[in-house]
């Protein structure tokens, strides 16, 4: 056993994910980044292995596993291909958690199995051009009209929107009540009035398309309301707390890969008559990177363990995401520094990791939002 946080099953799952990442993802990761396209047969393979249904209940085709299993998979897959983790994290958190947390049995039956099988994607549309971290200030509205709701608004930076069959959309049903007047809807992307804006040209994690979701007088049947009317924001926040651990785990994987690359490079690269790693300043940089990675691991594994044991872990999940993202970005930046000019070349993996990890302190709750959560818990 390599850690008090993990049992034999966790270790097996980690090993499977590592093997898959090495054999299948590593050889194609650079092309995925370059061509901005992720092969759908590989999504199918990940579904077949069970990666897309890790946290989805067994009765809906998933495996019903714990948070630590999810951490193991995300960490190992992120080492070789950050884009691939988005398919896993979407399926296990943003696409499905709102349904798992507050959906009816019929909704679960309708939406979950397709996601687990890798055959249907569901986008998660919360963010708006003027409502990012302050999600409750959204302006998308849903107005009751007979047996339907009419939705109007614009969501932005929506991951997988262009390839999704459905999108979870948060909209104000009671605008004067602020965050307590937001509801959650499942919107069929083929409904009249739904369109995706242009694909965002992103810095990293380029294999997954991201676009706006525009809603113009979209008539959504009432049975597409997920959870109770006006209580959608709570379900969004609960969903994001699952997401935080996923993003934090990705950071662990990318940072670990960066360190491995840096160690290898500094052992082989000779300057001033000896390998780079024999220069104390360089060796100390490696020591600092490794220490910070392990500190981040401690936070992430502990938060996941607490969640698995039914403890309240909002603060811990935020600390894990905050620290893992910030430390991860710093570690990858230093690794790139150790590669010198080569690290600045797109020929080298470290350049891609540098771009891929950058968003981790921004999405699914920025570092600053995590700090609000952490300090809020301390000061209440």
């Amino acid at each position: 056993m390599s850690s008090p946080f993990f049992n034999e099953d966790h270790e097996s799952i980690r090993e499977m994910a590592r093997d898959f990442a090495n054999k299948t993802l590593a050889p194609i990761a650079a092309d995925i980044d370059k061509n901005e396209e992720f092969p759908m047969d590989v999504v199918g393979q990940m579904a077949e292995m069970g990666f897309l249904g890790l946290k989805i209940p067994e009765e809906f085709g998933g495996l019903g596993l714990d948070m630590r299993s999810y951490v193991c998979v995300m960490e190992e897959i992120a080492k070789k291909c950050a884009t691939a983790t988005l398919f896993i994290s979407s399926a296990n958190s943003l696409s499905t958690a709102p349904i798992v947390i507050s959906g009816t049995p019929e909704q679960k039956e309708k939406y979950l199995p397709g996601v687990v099988a890798g055959e249907e994607f569901i986008a998660f549309a919360l963010t708006e051009p003027n409502a990012g971290s302050d999600a409750a200030s959204m302006t998308t509205k849903a107005v009751e009209d007979g047996d339907s709701y009419i939705l109007n608004g614009r969501k932005c930076f929506i991951t997988m929107a262009p390839i999704s069959k459905y999108s979870i959309v948060y909209a104000k049903t009671n605008p004067e009540k602020g965050a307590k007047g937001i509801s959650c809807f499942m919107v069929d992307m083929s409904l009249p009035g739904v369109s995706c804006g242009k694909h965002e040209e992103k810095m990293g994690q380029r294999g997954v398309p991201v676009s706006d979701v525009v809603l113009e007088d979209v008539r959504v049947p009432k049975d597409c309301l997920i959870g109770e009317l006006d209580l959608g924001f709570i379900n969004a926040m609960k969903t994001l707390s699952v997401g935080r651990i996923g993003v934090a785990s990705m950071c662990l994987g990318m940072a670990a890969e960066a360190i491995e690359l840096a160690v290898e490079h500094t052992k082989n690269r000779v300057q001033f008559g000896k390998p780079l790693c024999k220069h104390q300043a360089i060796a100390f940089m490696l020591a600092e990177m490794e220490t910070k990675l392990n500190a981040a691991r401690g936070l992430v594994y502990n938060a996941a363990w607490m969640m698995d044991n039914g403890m309240k872990a909002d603060k811990e999940a935020s600390m894990a995401k905050f620290f893992a993202a910030e430390a991860g970005i710093e570690i990858v930046n230093k690794a790139l520094q150790l590669f010198g000019g080569y690290g600045y070349s797109r020929e080298y993996e470290i350049e891609r990791i540098y771009r891929d990890i950058r968003v981790c302190s921004i999405y699914e709750g920025s570092s600053q939002v995590q700090q609000i959560v952490i300090s809020g818990q301390m000061l209440k």
Binding site: S12, M16, E48, M49, G50, L54, L63, L65, G341, E347
Partner: protein, 267 residues
């Protein structure tokens, strides 16, 4: 269909280091894997099962107790059941003695699992490279055998096997029961699934020990039942690796190549 797949646990040769003094393999700390050719045999069985879902796949291995890990790996990928043959009297067996023990094990497992229509093996193990155990097992059983198989499908009362020959691929029909040894096909074997892996972690692997075969001829097993006399073992001389040129861009790489070639007075 009832298929038996024979597998061997071998050291992962990509991790092998050679003791520079004794010139032998250093096995300490080297991870063990299922012999890759046996993995292709398992995949061939799994592909038959894909088309014929009532197929049962049983895995058999001989080795030390830790070889259960190899069986569990097969369970995680496609096998339904696995048996380990493990006993002190079997130690030191050469290929002939091993195939004789496996023949006895096949008979024993058939009592428990029903008669096997086909037995699949890898063409050889990557640690010994003899390619003898599969064919010898077929001879003990008196079964027709096809070697260098790539893929097989059930065709009525026979197995249609695609096999590798020097000129290309040959398709052979063979009546059940039969034995096929497999070589590397053009595809990769499937990955395990998490669900199967977790079930495999919990699976009890039955062990066929020294006393499992009361009628076995003890003069034909173990070291004393092994006519092979190993005079010497050696590791084939390693070809020195080529030079990998991967500069920052193509132009720099071309320059580097030119420097190397001109430096060696080749151009």
């Amino acid at each position: 269909m009832n298929i038996l797949v024979c597998v061997k646990q071998v050291p992962d040769t990509t991790e092998i280091k050679i003791d520079p003094v004794k010139n032998t393999l250093i096995r300490d700390g080297v991870p063990s894997i299922v012999n890759p050719f046996d993995g292709y045999a398992l995949e061939a069985a799994a592909r038959i099962k894909d088309k014929n879902p009532d197929t049962k796949i049983v895995v058999l291995t001989m080795g030390p107790p830790q070889a259960t890990a190899a069986i569990k790996e097969c369970l995680a990928i496609a096998a339904d059941k696995g048996y380990l043959v493990s006993g002190r009297t079997f130690g030191g067996s050469d290929t002939l003695a091993t195939s004789y023990i496996l023949y006895n094990a096949v008979k024993k497992v058939e009592e428990l699992e029903g008669k096997f229509d086909a037995i699949f093996c890898g063409k050889q193990a990557i640690d010994g490279d003899t390619a003898q155990v599969g064919p010898e097992l077929a001879e003990h059983l008196g079964y027709p055998q096809v070697t260098y198989g790539l893929e097989a499908e059930v065709d009525g009362d026979m197995l249609k096997v695609k096999k590798e020959v020097e000129e290309g691929v040959e398709v052979i029909g063979v009546k059940f029961p039969c034995l096929v040894t497999y070589t590397k096909p053009a595809w990769d074997p499937r990955y395990p699934t998490i669900k199967r892996k977790m079930a495999a972690n919990r699976a009890e692997i039955p062990v066929l020990g020294d006393d499992a075969f009361p009628d076995i001829d003890t003069t034909r097993i173990g070291l004393k039942g092994s006519p092979t006399n190993v005079k010497k073992t050696f590791v084939p001389q390693k070809k020195s690796g080529g030079v990998k040129i991967k500069e920052a861009d193509n132009e720099a790489s071309a320059k580097k190549l030119f420097e190397l070639l001109s430096g060696a007075s080749i151009i």
